[in-house]
Symmetry: D2
Subunit: 379 residues, 4 copies
């Protein structure tokens, strides 16, 4: 039986890269580079096969999938000729996308979202559907009494208030539909007490937040290196130049603040102290999906000698994110199948701002991940 | 009781930085930054205290210690004012240094080396002496029948042949004097069958080779990062600009070849394949002890998208190496005390070209090292 | 006869580096590196000799010169041992520094400033005094009717209003004292109609604004390179990490905005269009006076092929600025001697935001500068 | 009337990019980015129009033009779809390419080369043909008595000796056919006394050597910047990572040595002294036509303070070189029309190793170039 991936932001760069890529892998047109669940250490019969993933989703935009895919080809994210080679698959995927429902109350909207997901599941006779948020980053949410517990939340959603941001409303809808949820963005998502409790009540697992695809990934190996060598990091300053949709959103200082905070968290968590410096985001439209980050690190060694390193990272965010979305959907589906509910803290490997009190050094996250997959296989 | 460190190349930058630094730490003038055995995870009563280390050694040069230390102050390796603050300690250390002995046969030379070490031990009533090679890098050694086993070696050394390069002759002398040996250079050192067997016969442990202080250290965390994320490294090319004594030696293509080969080994060992590219060394006298390395890495991700990162490392080689020399002496001394003999493969964390068939990913080497120290404490 | 330099911000890093450096050059302790008026192309009998410069000035701080100089030695800006070698000179200079005068109206304050300058001139029998602003950057000034012309200004200053920011009040005082004025900062300085006219009335020249010492200097040669090769610059984004007093001031968004605007001006002026991107300033206290800037440039060539370059600049701001302060004082003094009044647009070579409608390409500014010096010599 | 460009190495990356690009410009498919003769400062009726250039040439390879062009599309050098859009033009160009002639003596070979060029001229009724060498770099030539003067050369070529390397034999053939010659490579080309004299006898101009497209271009603006600011460059070290045909050739140490020497010449010529350091070339096949160069510069300023900058240049060599080939052909043709013969030293702007005793600072070369074009228009 197949597994569904329901994408929030299904016509965005990450979603379309993932969807096209999964079809290309199924068609044998590419190797599964970037998919960590295809590494020997993580391959497991407990995970749904890549070939058994079916895609659907919501988006506020209505750009046809093929058109978006062609723009990704032009930008160098997808290889030339891929839209022609996968014409049928893209047409089929197009039929599974729906506009974002709108209703009078958020409770009604959530019911419509859940209904779309359930239709999708029924249409394809899916074993389960994992809902994955890859929509644009939201500003931080304003506190609301409905955030406290499931009962208050249900009551508040029935009012005309805007209680939940979109990411959380989608998590709510997923949970009420019995679906696992993955938040690949820095948005609020499941991070409200009411939703955490709801997931446990519904018996569904969730994962997040904020996919770790570039500068923070590098930090999560360099910072432990300095720690293991007893070198004191004095300053760590970063600049991220990025364009595309995500860049424009993050140019909004409110969204930006959340993101840059989560980008430095890895330092204090792995070093045990907070070096001076911040990580900035500069929106440069022309740079598009190929982000360039530059980080300067100054550090002290023996007898206080000051030294420095810097790095630039020139990565394609969508090409780095999309295979992780496939990984997360497979892992979360398998966790659900194994009876797990609540936060999947073992998936910290994938996230800048992971759930739970977990290690931030990449190798420790890797150990947790491989243990998690072994645990699934043992079931 | 105190532990001795007998330095081969005792008037060189690394040795003098280590010796001055140890005195500064003992005098409370600095924190033990760069000393990994002072990290909470590695502190152990099984290790001799930093304050209980006594230094002696051989050198072909006769530059007074104080003068060398002052040149290191001028170069920014040692802090201003340190030679004045540690005048007595440096004078005491000066008295423990000896010229390199010369005799008719290598057997005789080895006996004189061993005698100097034994005098040092007796003079200070040392529990044991660890011999550490921090002399200049040698060219690769020519094969000789005496390298095969201890008996052939003893016989060959008694002839007028140059059987062993200096690094190996010092290891031989150390072993015959019952001393553990650490090779911090890429020279041959213990890496001959005859010496490996001799160490076992003598019941002494040894460690090496080639201290991992800069570019290779960074590689040993970045290469595993690419591997864990299933990103295919296409090319990895490096340039190392360095001056000072080591730089001049390495400008010799013969020495250079050995070093650059060991610098790329970490890639094939951690990635499972050998990406294109080499790591070059350029001698630039004016750059002195502050090495600058630049590495460019190109890699493929999802659907073959090509991406890149580069880094520059601006590190003070002596300041990075010296605390590791102290660490290695303490760890090797403790291993000897615990009855270990032969290669200490658990110390791969410290080396570019570690002994044995061991992991090259830094975090795996760290795990081996912490296990090793825990094992010592359990004795 | 000697020439005076009256420094606004006389106890700051740039001023003290300049003052100590001039003494060191006079004592033959260093070569005049960084002093462009000591290049063969610019040496001229029309300029006052380096040895004939006498320093005085105002500062709100009261840190003793020697103490400040020692902190600059510790930071690596000044060479070790220099304060001891120049003890008498520093003591003499200390006696010429005055606290910033305070009075009831800005007119009264200006009179006190002018009186201090005139005392200084008389005390040393100086031919002339050039007033140079090297104080911290101010926020942009609020418009005031007194800014329009000298008469309105005189009237306004006699009121209790704060009519002029400190940089402009100092320019006013300089002009009324018959002294040339140089603004090395991005502050308002002479850039008000009333002051421009006053300088003409007083028959004194002035120069500014904002010394070009690092990232912008590099831009002023790279941007013309792209233009001469008909390569279209698509994006030019910069990050400046700096500490020290200037960094703290510039962390204030108001001051920062003025500075970052002037940093991009060179691009539109030399390229003929404005590429996307901005230049940011990040305050990192620990980085101190050694600023690190990183710039990424993307550009299109033949048939639209996109390419990129990036650079890092690791420069000591005070060591780069101080010799230019000496140059500017000498050049401005010579211009005054030659009868010039008003803006010295030929000195654009030294400034990020030069006065007048002048070229921004460094080589064109160089041509203007060499022509200016030749003109002085011909007088 | 049209002007011919006869390309030596006509099926190589630079030639094909130039040929395809010229067709694309003629068809209005692209702007003339990278073509300096299309800048307002250099546009001149004295130059043949871009639309009036006709291409022919020799190559030892027989890869069809279209196939080569498609490989350049795949490599990102040419835009997608260009080969389809320019099918007829490429077919026409294909008909003008000839295999490299082979004969018993070099004199005979030269006659066959000249005959091919003359046929080309006649076929298209061309006003003149400029011969441009864009073939692979040759090793340095061995001295031969025939290099001294035209008479000795003619005699030597009639023997069975290999007197001239290919680049010089082509120059010889061009001169005997009355054609101007441009050497865009570091090969010997016209740099033999016999050929210099022959060009004067034949009344034809020539230009060279070694197109300046990347790292050296940047050096030619940065080095003057340091000079103008009286900053002493201590070390300048570079690494060039490149693949493609040129990279493979340059991996040959003999060719490499010539190239790296010419790459540092700009430093001594513009600084007045030779800083320490070299510029290396590393062949990395996978990097292809997009070269990455990294340069580290250390320099001293006021009171000896040491500072540093580094840059990386990620440029497409063919996309940078091809428009310059068009420029050079147009400029050289116009010079010929204006009656110039011998070395065109005013074209130093285009070359790493320019002919004559000329300035190496880019802005001085620019001034010479604009003067040259103005001179042509005045005729």
């Amino acid at each position: 039986m197949a597994t569904g991936i329901w994408l929030i932001g299904a016509r965005g760069s990450v979603a379309v890269t993932g969807l096209v890529g999964a079809a290309a892998l199924r068609a044998g047109l590419a190797e599964p580079l970037g998919c960590v669940t295809e590494l020997p250490e993580l391959r497991s019969p407990a995970l749904p096969a890549l070939a058994d993933l079916v895609f659907g989703g919501h988006d506020v935009a209505d750009t046809p999938l093929v058109k978006k895919a062609e723009s990704l080809v032009a930008a160098g994210v997808l290889p030339a000729g891929i839209t022609a080679a996968l014409g049928d698959e893209l047409a089929a995927a197009e039929r599974e996308l729906r506009p974002v429902p709108v209703a009078g109350t958020q409770a009604d909207t959530a019911r419509l979202i859940a209904a779309d997901i359930e239709d999708f599941r029924r249409r394809h006779d899916l074993e389960r559907v994992v809902v994955v948020n890859v929509a644009s980053t939201e500003p931080a949410v304003a506190p609301h009494p409905g955030h406290t517990d499931p009962a208050s939340l249900a009551e508040a959603l029935a009012s005309t208030d805007t209680v939940l941001p979109a990411s959380s409303l989608n998590a709510y809808a997923a949970f009420t539909a019995g679906c696992p949820f993955v938040d690949f963005t820095p948005s609020t998502g499941t991070r409200l007490p009411a939703l955490a409790e709801l997931a446990l009540q519904a018996g569904v697992p969730y994962a997040g937040n904020d996919g770790k695809t570039g500068e923070t990934l590098v930090k999560s190996v360099l910072a432990p290196m300095f720690a293991m060598r007893h070198l004191r990091v004095r300053t760590w300053s970063g600049t991220n130049l990025l364009g595309g949709g995500d860049g424009a959103t993050l140019a909004d200082p409110a969204a930006n603040a959340a993101k840059t905070a989560s980008k430095q968290r890895v330092l204090s968590e792995t070093l045990g102290y907070r070096p001076e410096g911040t990580s900035l985001i500069q929106y440069v439209d022309d740079i598009g999906d190929f982000k360039t980050a530059w980080d300067l690190i100054t550090f002290s060694g023996f007898l206080g000698t000051t030294m420095r390193m810097d790095f630039t990272w020139h990565g394609c965010d969508s090409a780095l994110a999309a295979p992780l979305v496939l990984d997360l959907a497979r892992l979360t589906a398998a966790a659900h199948a194994a009876g797990r509910s609540g936060p999947l803290t073992e998936l910290a490997f994938f996230f800048k701002d992971p759930l739970g009190d977990v290690p931030h050094a990449l190798h420790e996250q890797w150990a947790a991940l491989t243990g998690f997959v072994r645990g699934l296989s043992d079931v």
